[in-house]
Amino acid sequence: MSLSYKKKDFVSDQDVRWCPGCGDYAILSAAQQVFAKLDIPKENFVVVSGIGCSSRFPYYVNTFGFHTIHGRAPAIASGVKIANPDLDVWVVTGDGDALSIGGNHIIHAARRNVNMTVLLFNNRIYGLTKGQYSPTSDPGTKTGSTPYGSLDTPFNPITLMLGAGAGFVARTVDTQIPHMKSVIEAAHAYQGFSFVEILQNCVIFADKVFEHITEKGIRDSRQVNLMHGEPLVYGNDLEKGLQFTADGLKIVAADQADTWDAQQRDAAKAYQICQSQENGEFPVPIGIFHSVERATLDAQVHAQIAETTEKLGKGSLTSLLQSGEIWNVGEK
């Protein structure tokens, strides 16, 4: 059966309130296009978010949506999915929401492999609170709370999620629409916890933080797109390649490039390819770092319930009250 949805079926009646030029618009539009293509009844979508500019997302999508509290979206979404596994659960979050206040929840949702798709809008700033540095801001970032430059080392969201055991880990860019759509689609197709970092430009508080990676003229030589089973090539004419050697990652000619394997259980190469500095000679990896399936928690919870029910028989009020040692007083 085809539901033949159009993008407009996923557009709500609410006015979008992001700043003009914000990268969030492009992500919203890409996601709505992907949703329309998935052939899933609209009423089965649940989009859960935390707090932040990015977390306003659910209001703009005409599905079930839950704009929750700062950082807790992965935990709320876990409850939604485990309680009702038929639903198609999405989490939209920001770099502050997911990696600062909600750090504990995102790592545990990943570890447990609750079947949901997480879109992290990484603008390297706290947008909604008017521009403080975030856990992904570069050291030295000057913001209201760091007038002389930030001092702490940022997280790399990709290695963090690999470390937490996420089965699907990917990165895309707000301005690269076809790439973004294909990555979101792949993330959704993955059965389990899938995580997509979307490099997102905040025009107001962190404009152009990704310019050195994403600007049109240079991006082909500054990015390498990881595609499973495809060679690790990049450059304006795809003339360069990457090779894993005993001495580490090497830049080689395209014909000597290694083939990317996103399905290795051991994510060592995915880590390794993330180690390159954004301003160094290596390209910044985008695409799919890791995609390895394993049993999801939600499915296992319900399998265990079914198995126990099979073994012990379905519980009823009578069996509940009449279990254990009982004695009678008077005539009964």
Partner: protein, 611 residues
Amino acid sequence: MTQTAQPTSLDEVVIRFAGDSGDGMQLVGNQFSNTSALAGNDLSTFPDYPAEIRAPVGTTFGVSGFQVRFASKKIHTPGDHCDVLVAMNPAAFKVHVEALKPGGILLVNTGNFDGKNLKKAGYETSPLEDMRYKEQFNLVEINLNTAVIHAVEGTGLSSKDALRSKNILALGMLYWVYSRSLEPTEQWLKEKFSKKPMVLEANLKALHAGVKIAENSELLQTQHTIAPAPLEAGAYKNLMGNAALSMGLVAGAELAELPLFLGSYPITPASDILHYLARYKNYGVVTFQAEDEIAAIAAAIGASFSGSLGVTATSGPGIALKSEAMGLAVMTELPLLVINVQRGGPSTGLPTKTEQADLLQALFGRHGECPVPVIAPYSSSDCFHAAIEAIKMAVQYMTPVILLSDASIANGAEPFLIPDLDSLEKFPAQKAKTEENFMPYRRDEKTLARPWAVPGTPGLEHRIGGLEKSDGSGDIDYSPKNHETMVGLRNDKVQRIANTYAPLAVYGEDQGDLLVVGWGSTYGAIRSAVRNAQSNGQSVSHVHLRNLWPLPLDLQDILKSFSKVLIPEMNSGQLLRILRSEYLIDAVGYSKIQGQPFATQEIYDHIQTIF
């Protein structure tokens, strides 16, 4: 062999078992309780154990106690003082000997009254040499260590392993004294050690040896019987509060025809709720051990949003963490049950001891104006009924509900009258059906509840969240008047729950000199103290509040019918503040903040100071 006299009958006995936390005192206490329950006695128990799992052996702070009171009459408390004290070592002796009534049986394990153990308990010389104790009590000195090693000879167990059964030997002795059947404990041992035949044999031998030793003891010449209590006719089981609460949750969800989802993070004294519910898998119960208390309530809210009954269980520190999420549940008007099994605070406080100090936190401990109904069970078995009532409220009014239990009723046990299935009325949850122009905040006229629109239902797609919204449409709305309206509506909705309460029951005359008002686990001690005062002819009545928010509508008239109002609480006067401010009455409080429940005598004595 001594000639055993005819057993004499007693109407009640209080036994306190005390020993190291590794001595198995909770175990024998529970066995004695179960056996007495099966014998038809009314009973009430009070386990009192240290926060440390295995506190240093022999120390006073490592002493674990279990008090059981069993009777041939209706009782409400585990008793103030005990008739029997079993002291497994000098530390247990030191901590508990003051609780023994004059003439009571003081059974001590002399095997542990050696230099090392005496020193650890802070004794220079053995207290057993003090004539005072010999005169005051029926001192039964027995070396349980050698007795048990002797008893299990031939089982092949090492002496070290054999020593583990000394608690069972002591239990056997008391079974003889109180003419209890060995069967329930034998049965229990057989199940527990079905895979360890050697250990089973040793324990059975120890149990029987205890009986023999008691029978032959010069000091324990009299056997007693305690007749069954005139309990209301019906089937009973012996349940601790947390077990009754867990059963109530499963029953309540069944009655609401909802799947039950518990999100929880372990914390004493609430963890048992997670443990019990995790076993009810064949009832379709989903349990989720979250990464912290915030995630636990968050997942429960997510479960409620997606159509289950979300429940979260914790103690005070966990409630503090959950308070922001409770605000979300109030704002999104989703059903949710938040259980607080109170313990001594603030901070880690007295993690294994009881207190009622989270009442104001339950009523007001959230940001913004955030009304939540609060219900407090008054006894272990009432936990079952309170859980059902809380679920009904949550579902019918689309609101989070707080259930305030505490360590003493959570861990204490009493006979639970198994309710008739017919007496448990179903209240199937109403979920919104497909419709056009669905309004997520359209309210029911009577309850003011909004519809519960579960994902998966075509046509009901809608967005909710913590931002202020317009009534009806649920759209974001920051306009000044709207916020005031919504704050008012959320408050009115919760206040309307008071219309569903059964009338308050006043114990004693409807008017008079003194009304004692209590809530939660102080019920038994207050009721017994008031009964004693009434039997002196004093004009005292008792009313016990189960619904702490909204307050019952008939409370005001009751309060105003008495010259004085006394409110005993295990805090510094929290309900007192509420009732003074709500009703402008000159009530007085009586506080006990020691991590220990009130003794009946304490409340009785306090009542006397008022007359």
